[in-house]
Structures are given as C-alpha cells and as structure tokens.
Symmetry: C2
C-alpha cells in the first residue's frame, strides 16, 4: 500500500527551489544527490531548470506518470495542489510544509480540509509538518535532512521531525545503517498504524523503531503492533503524559490510572519493547539488528579486566539476566587454554595481558556450552591487548547462532575495533551495563514470542439486563449508578454477590436479616454516598435482631447527620461473607486505549502502597495471569506462612468477566468492584460492593 | 602526607627498561614524555643509559635525594628494594608489579611482608598490582597507561587498573580534563581512605570520583567520606556484592541485610553520591566540574524541538527534578523575543528555525527568573540552526551563577559545538535524559550540604546489666540469647516492655495473670524456639483465670508435640499491649561497616513486601528520620483515613537507643526487636519481643 512512498518510479517536487537554504532546494538536492534512480520532476512556475533537471510550471504539464509528489509550498496553495495530484493520478503525497494543526485554529481547519480532499481522491498523505522520508534501499532521500544514513536493517518512524534530524546526524557520524527513516509529522492521514503494518512486511527491515507522543486509534494500534511484533522486534519510546490526566475521578481505578499506565499496559499486551530513553532505543536496536535472539536468559561474560566484569555481573542482577553457570567440561577446556591465574567461572577473566588468541579460545569455548544462551565480550585496552585482532575474532564468533555483544571500553584506541565489530554485526557498548541491558531486552522479547496468542474468553451473560439498567439510569439523568444497580450489573455478568435485600425500616431490617441468616452486614444505600464507611454507614457482624434494629437507626442517623442532602433509599442488609482476601478490580476509560482494567489488593495496598497493575480490555487469560502476579503483594494471594492459597483461577475468571462487561458496554466509563473477596482455592470469589459511572 | 606521590621533586624508577613493550619502559617513557620537570633516575643494573638519562645500578648509587620510587621488578626482589628505599630515605613508593594478593597463597604472604616492612620504615605504599598514578598539575605520569589526559578538576581513584586504562582512553579521546588518576591496586597500605582525605584538600581537584569493589575500614571510610563530601562532591561507583552474603541468618534483619544494602546506607549517611554505572559516574562528574550547584530543584528547559523537550520533561518526573514554573514577567519577556508560535511555558520551545539570537534571548531570560534554579539547553541540528554560535552563547550564559547543562543532539554536525561547550565548562549530553539525571544528582548533593551534621544522641543506659547477661550466656556457650535475656538487654537500654512474668505451671500462670491484670498474652519460653507462633506457642486476649490455665496447657503441649527436643522454660504471661502499629527494628553485623540497623513495618510488610530501610550505626537523628520515612508503607505510621498518627518521635528515640546498644556491644552480631509497638502520638513505644545473637 505504501510502495508509492518507498519505491516510486518517479517523484515530483512541488515547490522545488534553486535557492540554497530553502527547504524546497534541500529536498530536490537530496533526491538528486543520493542517487535516486527514477524520474525526478521539479515543479516551479518560476524556473525552467533546477539542478540540471527540466522544471515544470505545474504537475499537469509533466508528460510521464508520477508515483509520488513531495509538496513544499505555502499551506494556502495546498488544496489546489491536491486537486492537481488527483488529476495527474498521483496516489502518494508527502506534505513537508508546516502551518497546520500545530498552529491551532485556522491551521487545524485547513489540515482537516486537505485530509478530507485527499481521502476523497483516494490519495494517501504523509505529514503535513514533517521532515519527509528516506529509503536507503530505493536510494530515495525525500527529506530536507542533512545527510543520508548507510544501508541497514533498522527502520525508524518518529512523531518528532527534529528527533529524526538528530538521530540521522548520529547515524551518519557513527556509520549506523538504516533501511528507512519516516517523519510522521501531524499524521493527518498516515500514522504509526500504517507504518507499522508496512514495515512488518518490509523485507529490508528487521527491526522497527518508533518515537511516539500519542496514538490515534489505541485498540487498532495494539492489534497492528502485536501482529508486527510476532514478525520482528518493535521498539518504541513513548514520550509525554507522565503527569496523570486531568479528569476528576470518582473511583479508585480512575484515581490511579493515567495515560502512562495505559501505554505501559498496551505495550505489554502487544509485545512492544518499550525503551525508556532514546539511548536505550538505539542500544536495543543495535543488538536486535545484528544478532540472533537468545534461546534463554543465561549470559556468559568474558573480560580482560576484573572491574568491568564485576560491573557486568551486577548489571545482570539489576536487569534480571542470569549469569550462566558454565559446565564442568567448559571449565576444563578453559583451564587448558588460559593461564592458571585466569578466572574460569563466569565472568571468565582472560587477564590483562591477554592477546587475541586467549579471547578466541575463551569465546569459542564458552559459546559452545549448552548452558550459555549468549555472551558479552569486554575488552579494556591494556599494554598487550590486540584490540583489532580481538574484534575480528569476536566478529567471526558471532556466527555461532547465539547472540554476542561487545563492550570494548575507551575511545581513542578502540575506534578501529568498533568499526570491525559493526561490520560483523556485533553491537559495541561503551559500558558493559548497556550491553547487559540490551541483552535483557532480547531475552524478554524472545520469551514473549514463545507465548501463545492471548485468547479472549467469552462467558454467558445477561446483556439485556444491563442494557435496561443503564437505560433507566439515563432516563433519570443519573451518571452514577446506585449500589443496587451496580450489583445487578455485575451479577448479570456472572459475579456471585452476597444475599442482600433493602430494608426501609428497622423492623424490615430484622425480618430480612432473619431470612438471610446471621451474622449480617448492613450498609447505607444512597446514590449520593460513595464512601459509605467514612460517613458511618457500614456495620458488620450483626448477630441478632436487636443488633440489626439498633444498627439500622445508627446508620441512618449517621448518614443524615454527615450528609444531610443525600437521598437515602434505605439500608441494605447483606449476608456476611466468610474470610478471604479482599481485592479490588476496576476499570477506567483511557483517552487512547479505551477500557483500562486495574487490579490490586484492597485497602491500604491500593490506597497507600498503590500496588496495582493495569491491562487494556479485552484481555486474554495469559495477560490477566501476569497482571495478577506482577503486584508486589501477590505472595499474599498465593498464601504466606502456611496459609491456604486463594482461588486465583476464580479471580482470573472474574477479571475476564469484567473485561467482557466493559467491552460490551463502552458507555461505562469508570467502575470499581471493591472489595471482591477471593476465597480459598476452589471456593470462588464474591463481589461485595460495586460502583459504576456511565457516560 | 601524599605530597611525595603527587609533587615529588625527584623520581626513581626501579626496573626501568630500554625495551619497548615492557612495563618498565612504559613507565619511564611516560614520565619523560609528558614533561615531568623534576629529576628522573632510572635504576637498572644492566643499562648505563635509558631514554637519554644516566641509569644507576641501584638506588644507593644515586647521589641526589629521591622523593618517590616507582618499582617495576619481579615480586621476589621487592623486599630488598624496600630496604634500599629505606636506606636512601625514600618515603613514597609505588609498586606496579603484580603477583601478590591477587594470586592467593604465597603472593598474599609476600604482600603482607612487604607492607609490614614498609610500615616499619615509615614508608607509604601505593599498590602493588596497580597501574600507577597521574598528576596533570605536576606533569607526572608515573603509570604504564597509554596517554595523558588534559588538565582538569576531576580526580579519579580506582580499585580496577583496567578501568583506569579505559577511562583514560576515553578522556584523551574526548578531551576531558583530569587533575589526578590513581590506581589503588591491592591496597596493601594506601587505600581509598587516604586518597579521599588527600583529595578533599587538593586545590586542583573540585570533584572526586572513585570506583570501589570494597572498603577496608568501613566506619573510618564513612567519616573520611563525610568530611570530604562537605568540601566537594564525592561520587562513587560501588561494584560487586549485589548477591546477598553467605552467612546463614537467624533474624529478619539478618535475612534482609546484604552488602549492597550496607553500602547504600553508608553512602547515604556520608553524603557520597552513588553512581549506578560508569556512564553515570562521568556524566555527573562533568556537571559538577563545570557548573555551580543549583540552589533548588527547579529546572528550565529550552529546546528547538518539541520531542526532545517532552523527553526531558518526562525525565524530570522520573529523576524527581521539578519543572520550573516560569514567572509572568519571564513569559512576557519571552513573548517579546520569540515568534508567536513558540512555546512560552517550560519547556520553552524556540522552534525549529531558531538561530542563535533566539536561544540567547531565551536562555538569558529564563536564567534571570528567580523561580529557575538551572537550565537545560537542547539543540537538534536543523536547517537554520547556528550550532556553534549557539554553543558560544550557552558557554557565555553559564556565568550566571546557575548551573547550565546542554544536550546538543547528533554527532557529525555538533562536534565543533561540543568543543566550545566543553571549553566553557558546560557539560553536553547526547540525550536530554542524561542531562536531567545529572542535574538531579547536583540537586540531591546541594540539599545534603544544607543539612546539619548528624548528632549521635546519648541516652542513659544500664551497661553493666547487659555485660552481665552477655557474660552469663557466654559462660553457658549460648550464642542465642533467651527471650527473657533479650528483653532484659533492651530494657537496660531504656525500652519499655510489657509487664511479664514466667509461669512454670498453669496455677502459677493464673496467679501471675491476676497480678498483671486481664487481658493477658501468653507465650512459650524456650531458648530453642524462635518462631513461637508457628508451633502454636502464643495465645492472646486471655480474659480470665480459667482461660489462662487452659492456654498454659495448650501452649506447652503444642510446643512439646511440635518440637519434642526443645528445652522449655515455661510460659511467659504478659500484659496485653493496646493497639498500635507493629514495627520491627533490628541489627545485623555487616562485613564492611559493622552494625547495620534495619527498620520496617512488622508482619507481611517485612516478610512479603520486604519494605525495609537500613542505616549504619551509630546513626544521627536526621538519618533515622529519613530511614523511617523512606519505606513505602510510611504513610501508615503517619496515619491514613483520618487515623491518629503514631508516635514517630518515640520510634526515633527507640532506634537511637538501639544504635547505642549495638555500638556499645559489638559482640551482638544480630538482633530483632519484633514487634515494637508504636502507640499513638505521645504514648511511646513498647517492645513486645526481642531476639539476639552474640559472637
């Protein structure tokens, strides 16, 4: 679909200029200079020739077919230019020009108009307000960037044009190869969505990198990303939005959720490797581009210096990489080829006076150990060190099928070696920690690839009942559902709730309690009171009719004293649930990704320790398992100090049902089931209380 | 004291060699080549002249005085060489040669002998097994490293010689200035202790960097480090020891403590800035060396590109730096000098087409805002960008008295600018995150400098009583103190403990309980039973004589059923303490730093969430305050949901008393007070239970 952008047979530059320093000149000059082999048509009514090429007054005066138009003219002329493109049959257009959405008001309107017009003609747009694109395979540099990166397997798309410039400058300076560079600009039409889809199938790209500040269609993005990540690593830096969103939240979930939590969840579920900095992004990319994936987490370290070896071992612990335990066989072989003072265990220390032959023996021996899934070779330039010869050896050893990463430390004396390593596809990191961190990212990705595709379960549910409840609340203009309604909703989706009935007088309460069986719990019922405990609206363990009658009077008088304006429906008398672990599950609508599910242990774990985890609904079982186990207090669910384990299977099903509910009813914008009591294994879960807000 | 090493008037090289490639040649060649202005005496019985200098057969044949000897001969000749040094009156000796402690057995013995001999003569030793040292001020390169760094204000000492080599190579390649480079080697005599003391007063050094794998004398190290850190930043990478120590622990504190926890605590208490990687070490160093300290945490960001600005703002959140809120005045001034589409709030976006003048206006305006404590200037090389001119402006603005940090991104096009910045003392980071992280390290250090010196409190205590208890346990060869003994010990140090008495029969228990007052708690008393609850050895809330008698029988039969071999002293009947927050305070002896105190909330917070903090005893009040507040569950002590706050002052005093106890009695190697109940504010703390192990 995007072939017209990356492999055009002919390019027209609308707004090409003879004047150096102008963007319209940089573009045509880059196209010509970097050897684009197709037809190049400058369009400029005021010139007859630009850079030795015939210039045309407009697109229609060009005789041949045109695959791609690059537009560099002021915004006000662009609507006409799109008309011309359509008449000329051009299907792919890059708008470099700025002055659109980013300037607000008028610019935003114009951008929408341009996008609509293009859509009407079946034209795809990249930009506006972008740097353009570069394809090293087709030798097309349709950008105004200074420089062209070498050919390589890394593709980079970016929502920041300036970041493209800086990275390009870095790539040229360090000779790092790229397949494609795409500046997304304002994303009036093409966004990360189409780019990811295209790059996933691009044979010239083996690693996809992205810089994003936001996504347009969260769910589609996740689907597209997951498909791509199954084919090749997709590494993304997400910037912005660390500060929580502005919407006032009425639930715990709403309070704790935030844009960054949603992105993290979406990335986790889609197999996207999240880089937390630009440095990490490219560090990871170099490992993925040059090396095979490790089949396990066990790393061997080979070094000619103790200190950096220790630093690398520390980094293994920090980034959750295992230090491989070398086999007896390997250690014996190492003893044969290394001096007696060498270190034979991982990290393997070939000692400061090691020449290349010692590295060769160590690297090959270690890589052939089945306990080793990859190796990090550390070199410090010492008196006897054969820096470049060692680089040759490492570059050759890298064909073992296991990933090999280097950390040749220093600057002046290792320049040549780093070149040799790069040519051999071995990434070199100036410090061992960064090598270990990159290896860790490969380990994580390789593990994800082995996981089965998540299956979204489907449970029987009384959808009609929920529709009715929501309709009736809407009729009364209530956005916050009453407690009873919220309980009915989750009951309709298969949650077990305690026996309960509303009582309007203390006498009714006593009757109901006797019917349910003692002891009971009593709670104020009011659409206006969210935090029942705080107004003295809850009593537990009531064991007799007298206690129930007394509690009724206390609860209602507490509530009307503390919240005199609250509408009070009565007091709910409930079955007292036997002891289990109280958890909270909830949902809050995220701006980018829709329903964001939350899970945590109830009470202080959520409120004080904020020990919660998030996933985007709908969510598969495997993701829910991870969601549950990633909170710090997870051991409490599994059971500590000989305690019986909780019914985690039932909890998983509960979250699946919640996921189905909020997916079926996008009008629910926030909800908590709190507490959801997880009983001991085999006994299920019971939802004690719920609250819910609709749109 | 170390002047003989860094400013010698004359140097002898024992083992100087004519042969290139030999260490003895590299040393003399470095001393000559880099222009050491003093006298140079090669010593080599087989040569009459080396590098144009007269060579001597031995030290005694040299006529002039010698301040420093550098020894590069095989280990077996070194004892004689030390004798010669003594005869010649040499007080400072560097032993480069390897073959000592690092080779084990014989080498270790020889090293001790050499060190003892030197000590006897009053000779100070650097090494053995080291790279030597470099002083750019006295133009002395007494090392076998390849290259000499430019002059600068950073001093670096390292326990890894190879790391010195690599860093030196990096410094030469990147033109980074250093005052001194010291390779500590095996630390047979001089260690980080003397180096830190010397460098703290060295006028040519403004930042001290260190790489350490361990310290010899933990407490002295802390004292020396704190004194140095008051004078100039001391930044240290500590490598190794992330895996917990091997000693089997009998207390919670012992289980959770580890070498790395101890180092972290020691660094925190001493004002040492801990770098978690070599990259961070030098990143921080560049900021500290070139820029003044910020007077607060508020950073302004100036950028010509939105993306990197957002990345920097994200990093502020991550590294706990505040984004400065610009004053109305500043924003108005910015509106006057920047185009209307610019960003006037922090991050200030001067827009992609900014030339140097726009940067100049923005940087100066922002720096003069009193709400701003420092600024980060981001530049991406775009078409109109005046890269070097902007660097000039930033370098000049850096004289404002506020720290200024740069992130000029890219490689090829910014090389010249980075040079300009460096000359102006402005550190440049390839990615803005690293700039923000470095600013954060300055903020933290500046805050520490403002803190008062910690005062170690002293409380009245019955020291004699503790001596007696320990003596009696020792007499019986018991290393584990009994519960009663442990309680007596802490009582002697001022801990309030519940009324309690031992009962040997159920009748005695009833009598005691009546005397104490109901309800009571009962606990098995046995030197062999550590986890009382788990053997059914604890009953609480016993409200009558009958209940107490019954409990006595149950507890003793539970204990003898589950631990038939345990010696049972009886059952302790205790006052039931009213509700408070249960915390645990404890101590475990650390290999490097001695008594390491631990604090955490009791039960699952310690056991499951491992939410604990550590400090090295003796510890001042201010450090205890931080120790208490840094656990995640701290809000529970302050009181959540309208709960009364706990008596944190009493808790602080309790930890001070514990600190005094374990400092007075170094023979205590492990102890827990668990639980220590912290009552509501004003009501104090009560120690319920304690355990203690002595040496």
């Amino acid at each position: 679909m995007l072939e017209g952008f990356f492999n055009p047979r002919s390019v027209a530059i609308v707004g090409a200029s003879r004047e150096e320093g102008k963007t319209g000149h940089s573009i045509i000059s880059n196209i010509v200079k970097y050897g684009f082999p197709g037809k190049i048509y400058p369009v400029n009514p005021k010139a007859s020739e630009i850079m030795g090429l015939t210039s045309y007054p407009n697109l229609l005066s060009i005789e041949g077919d045109i695959d791609l138009a690059v537009i560099v003219i002021p915004p006000k002329f662009i609507l006409d230019a799109i008309d011309e493109c359509a008449k000329k049959g051009i299907k792919s257009v890059i708008i470099i020009s700025a002055g659109f959405k980013e300037t607000g008001g008028e610019g935003r309107r114009l951008e929408t108009e341009v996008a609509n017009k293009a859509r009407g003609y079946g034209i795809r747009l990249l930009g506006p307000n972008c740097l353009g694109l570069i394809d090293t395979g087709s030798m097309l540099n349709a950008s105004f960037a200074a420089g062209m990166p070498p050919k390589g397997k890394i593709a980079f798309f970016s929502q920041s044009g300036a970041l493209c410039t800086a990275i390009l400058d870095w790539a040229v300076g360090n000779n790092v190869g790229f397949s494609k560079f795409i500046s997304l600009g304002n994303k009036a039409d093409l966004s990360e969505l189409e780019l990811i889809r295209y790059l996933a199938d691009d044979p010239e790209t083996s690693v996809i990198l992205g810089y994003l500040e936001g996504v347009e269609k969260g769910r589609e993005f996740m689907d597209e990303a997951r498909k791509a990540a199954r084919k090749k690593p997709l590494i993304v830096v997400k910037a912005g939005g660390t500060a929580a969103g502005a919407r006032a939240a009425s639930s715990h979930t709403g309070t704790l959720a935030g844009a960054d939590r949603a992105f993290q969840a979406a990335f986790d579920q889609s197999g996207i490797i999240r880089a937390m900095s630009i440095e990490d992004l490219f560090d990871y990319a170099l490992s993925f581009a040059g090396q095979p994936l490790p089949s396990g987490p066990r790393l061997a370290i080979i070094t000619n210096a103790g200190g950096p070896g220790i630093i690398a071992a520390d980094a293994c612990e920090r980034f959750r990489v295992e230090l491989a335990e070398l086999s007896g066989d390997t250690i014996n072989k190492l003893r044969e080829s290394l001096p007696p003072v060498a270190g034979f265990f991982n990290p393997v220390d070939v000692i400061g006076d090691a020449r290349a032959d010692r590295y060769e023996a160590a690297v090959n021996t270690v890589l052939s150990d089945p306990n080793v899934n990859g190796a990090l070779v550390i070199l410090t330039p010492q008196a006897m060190t054969e820096v470049e010869k060692t680089a040759d050896i490492v570059a050759n050893a890298s064909r073992s099928g296991k990933p090999l990463i280097a950390s040749f430390m220093g600057e002046a004396s290792i320049k040549g070696a780093v070149d040799i390593l790069r040519k051999g596809g071995v990434p070199n990191y100036p410090y061992p920690e960064r090598g270990v961190k990159s290896f860790a990212s490969m380990v994580r990705y390789a593990q994800w690839l082995k996981e089965p595709e998540p299956v979204i379960g489907s449970f029987e549910a009384d959808r009609k009942k929920v529709e009715e409840i929501i309709a009736s609340a809407r009729k009364e203009d209530r956005l916050e559902l009453g407690e009873k309604e919220a309980r009915e909703v989750i009951k309709a989706y298969g949650f077990r709730i305690p026996k309960a009935m509303m009582a309007r007088t203390s006498e009714e309460a006593a009757i109901v309690a006797r019917g349910i069986g003692f002891p009971v719990v009593m709670k104020i019922s009011s659409p206006d009171i969210l935090h029942k405990t705080e107004v003295g609206g809850v009593k537990v363990g009531l064991a007799s009719e007298e206690e129930v009658e007394k509690a009724f009077l206390e609860i209602t008088s507490n509530a009307s004293r503390r919240m005199p304006k609250a509408l009070i429906w009565g007091v709910s008398v409930q079955e007292m649930v036997k002891k289990g672990k109280e958890v909270i599950v909830g949902m809050s609508k995220d701006h980018n990704f829709g329903p964001l599910l939350m899970f945590g242990l109830g009470g202080i774990y959520v409120e004080v320790l904020k020990d919660v985890s998030f996933r985007v609904a709908p969510v598969g079982k495997i993701d829910i398992e991870r969601m549950i186990s990633e909170i710090r207090s997870y051991p409490l669910l599994k059971g500590v100090r000989g305690e019986a384990p909780s019914d985690i299977d039932a909890l998983i099903e509960g979250i699946q049902r919640l996921s189905q509910l909020v997916t079926d009813f996008p009008e629910i914008i926030e909800m908590d089931i709190n507490p959801l009591v997880v009983l001991p294994k085999g006994e299920g879960v019971i939802a004690i209380d719920a609250r819910m807000t609709i749109e």
